[in-house]
């Protein structure tokens, strides 16, 4: 690992500003590291080294004139969910074929306007539907972490697995991600990185390939809490082209980190002590509570009684919205087409070949719950449960400033280990999904290791649009737990038998 790829986003920014390093050197170091790691990790599905070097050149010119932009020269990974002009964007689905957007998503546009450099598009679960990155049409992504003494490949979590893997493996200074039920925070916890899901509406959804419109939210994966603060400031904006975007000023989140946490009231929800929770996770949580006490915060037991209903309600709302959003993939306007004997047959063939198994399962669930006679019983019922979940949080936030919970029920599991039972996979999001249902901000911060040396995270949940407190509280965990060292770069010493980007028959679907 080169010294340059080991810098944090903040350190790299400061060194560029002082002209101790150039954007070209920094970008080249990342491209070299990416090329050495990607065959084993499959974190990037579309590396864009030429574009990265061009962008770095422009950054160096600005920096040279003393006119550097806030993120000038900082190389980032971009989740394949974001539309990037002229660069293939498919949300890792075969149905989008070779889709090359003619416009840039608002979030990535904001980052480029701030001078950041794009290293490439990162792997993810197809349409962000998954918790292991195994549903990608471009093959699984691998976690750079391995259990002590084992060479078994582990999942990086999902859906933002490629972004998390890239940031953990030091082949991106930071990455964009997105979170519908835990897709930023769960992979962050699995890879020893920081994952921040902002309040719904904080970042524009324009140009993000839609999964579940009332839940999807953009956010960063980084190596430190400070880096998450920097990224969010430049990803967030009010966007008239997204009618759910919040017309609010974006604060200087980095500044909030220097504020004291003494006297902060931290809630601990008793409903998160679920049956069968591992002793390891319980201990981690207790340790976290101790850190806040040491920092002068007040710990208050709270109750969020509808917690257990969040996940089943999610599995009505998210598939229902997905079945509506994904209706646009019809083989007519973009992506792959498979011919049939008439137009209906063409639609059915195209969608049958283009979508993977998990996406089809969710589209069928979504179609079922929205079908005649079931709408009130399922979708409206689930939306009412959401109101109750939101009400629980509102009551709790009358007493506390932020809430501390575990981020995931376990450490990273093996590739191929949880394939059989969809619900078993869904349970990964048990601690994160409540936050999406209520639209709140949440952060996962590395907090310790499992018995076999794998990263574990703690989650902080905040009030709507109070990412400042979330970040400030997240910093307490980082200060107490210490930042993680990089995982051992086993991919450099192994002629890795890891999976190459697998182009399935789906992506080869005829485009007649």
């Amino acid at each position: 690992m080169s010294e340059l790829t080991g810098l944090t986003l903040a350190e790299a920014r400061d060194r560029l500003k002082k002209k101790e390093i150039t954007a070209h050197e920094l970008t080249e170091a990342h491209i070299t590291a990416l090329e050495a790691a990607n065959t084993a990790l499959n974190a990037y599905i579309v590396p864009t080294p030429d574009k990265a070097l061009d962008m770095a050149k422009a950054s160096d010119e600005r920096l040279g004139k003393g006119k550097g932009l806030p993120l000038d020269g900082l190389p980032l990974g971009i989740k394949d969910l974001y539309c990037t002009e002229g660069v293939r964007s498919t949300a890792c689905s075969g149905i989008l074929g070779d889709f090359q957007p003619v416009y840039e998503s608002t979030v990535t546009q904001n980052l480029w306007a701030a001078g950041a450099v794009m290293l490439g598009k990162t792997n993810m679960d197809e349409f962000a539907m998954g918790s292991s990155n195994e549903t990608s049409a471009y093959g699984s992504c691998v976690n750079p972490w391995r259990a002590a003494g084992s060479d078994k490949p582990l999942v990086p979590g999902g859906s933002s697995g490629g972004s998390a893997s890239a940031v953990a493996a030091r082949i991106a200074l930071a990455a964009t991600a997105s979170d519908t039920g835990g897709s930023i925070r769960q992979p962050a916890a699995f890879t020893g990185t920081v994952g921040l899901k902002p309040t719904y509406g904080r970042c524009s959804r324009r140009g993000m390939i839609a999964f579940a419109s009332s839940l999807d939210q953009a956010g960063p994966i980084t190596r430190t809490v400070q880096d998450a603060a920097i990224m969010l400031r430049h990803m967030a904006s009010y966007d008239p082209k997204d009618s759910t975007s919040a017309n609010r000023k974006v604060p200087d989140y980095e500044k909030a980190l220097s504020e004291k946490v003494k006297g902060l009231k931290i809630g601990v929800p008793k409903e998160y002590r679920i049956d069968g929770m591992s002793a390891e996770i319980d201990e981690l949580w207790e340790r976290g509570i101790g850190w806040y006490k040491d920092a002068g915060a007040e710990i208050i037991e709270i109750s969020l009684p509808h917690t257990k209903y969040a996940l089943p309600a999610y599995y009505i709302v998210a598939p229902a919205e997905a079945s509506s959003n994904l209706a646009r993939y019809d083989g007519v306007r973009y992506g792959a087409r498979v011919n049939g004997k008439d137009i209906i047959d063409m639609y059915e063939e195209t969608r049958s070949h283009g979508f993977g198994a998990e996406v089809k399962r969710r589209l069928l669930i979504g179609t079922y719950v929205l079908s005649a006679g079931y709408y009130d019983a399922y979708y409206i019922k689930a939306q009412k449960v959401r109101t109750l979940i939101q009400r629980d949080f509102n009551e709790a936030f009358g007493k506390v400033d932020a809430i501390l919970t575990p981020a995931t029920p376990s450490a990273a599991f093996g590739v191929g280990e949880k394939g059989g039972d969809p619900i078993e996979m869904y349970l990964n999001d048990i601690f994160t999904v409540t936050v999406n249902m209520a639209g709140l901000p949440g952060i996962s911060v590395p907090a310790g290791r499992s018995g076999d040396g794998l990263p574990l995270g703690l989650q902080i949940i905040g009030k709507a649009f109070d990412e400042e407190t979330v970040l400030k509280a997240g910093q307490v965990i980082e200060d107490a737990a210490g930042r993680y060292e990089a995982p051992e770069a086993w991919w450099l010493s192994e002629t890795a038998p890891a999976k190459k980007a697998k182009v399935t028959s789906k992506t080869k679907a005829k485009t007649s």
Binding site: G97, Q100, P101, V102, Y200, G201, P240, S243, T244, N247, H306, K308, Y309, P312, A313, Y315, I316, A327, V332, R333, Y334, G335, A336, R337, D342, I343, D345, M346, Y347, E348, E349, R351, S352, F355, K360, R361, L363, L364, I365, G366, T367, Y368, S371, Y378, A382, Q383, K384, V385, R386, T387, L388, Q390, D421, P422, I423, A438, G439, L440, F465, T511
Partner: protein, 95 residues
């Protein structure tokens, strides 16, 4: 909630996804299991509860009804599998 094979086929048709008989059989079990699991929402009393629509009160923004970004037909059809003169081509629909 038990979903039978006929229901799987009906829903697949509505979703415009072709399923083979083997897939339909497998989906029968998977969909039933998921719907059984979400059934627990029945325990929650939602009699006087409004469905959630947004995180905080916010009026939907409005704009004037006029073309602001016109004349980009070429861009719109750029990614289509089959086009002619900036029109999308589909199999014949009307005999």
């Amino acid at each position: 909630m038990k979903v039978d094979e006929a229901t799987v086929r009906h829903v697949a048709r509505l979703a415009r996804i072709k399923v083979t008989p083997e897939q339909a059989k497998a989906l029968e079990g998977e969909l039933s299991a998921i719907l059984d699991w979400v059934e627990q929402l029945g325990e929650v009393d939602t009699a006087n509860v409004e469905p959630m629509t947004r995180v905080e009160e916010m009026a939907l923004p409005k704009r004037e009804d006029k073309v602001t970004e016109g004349s980009i037909a070429g861009q719109i059809v750029k990614n289509a599998p089959l086009t002619e003169d900036n029109f999308f081509l589909v199999p014949k629909v009307v005999e």
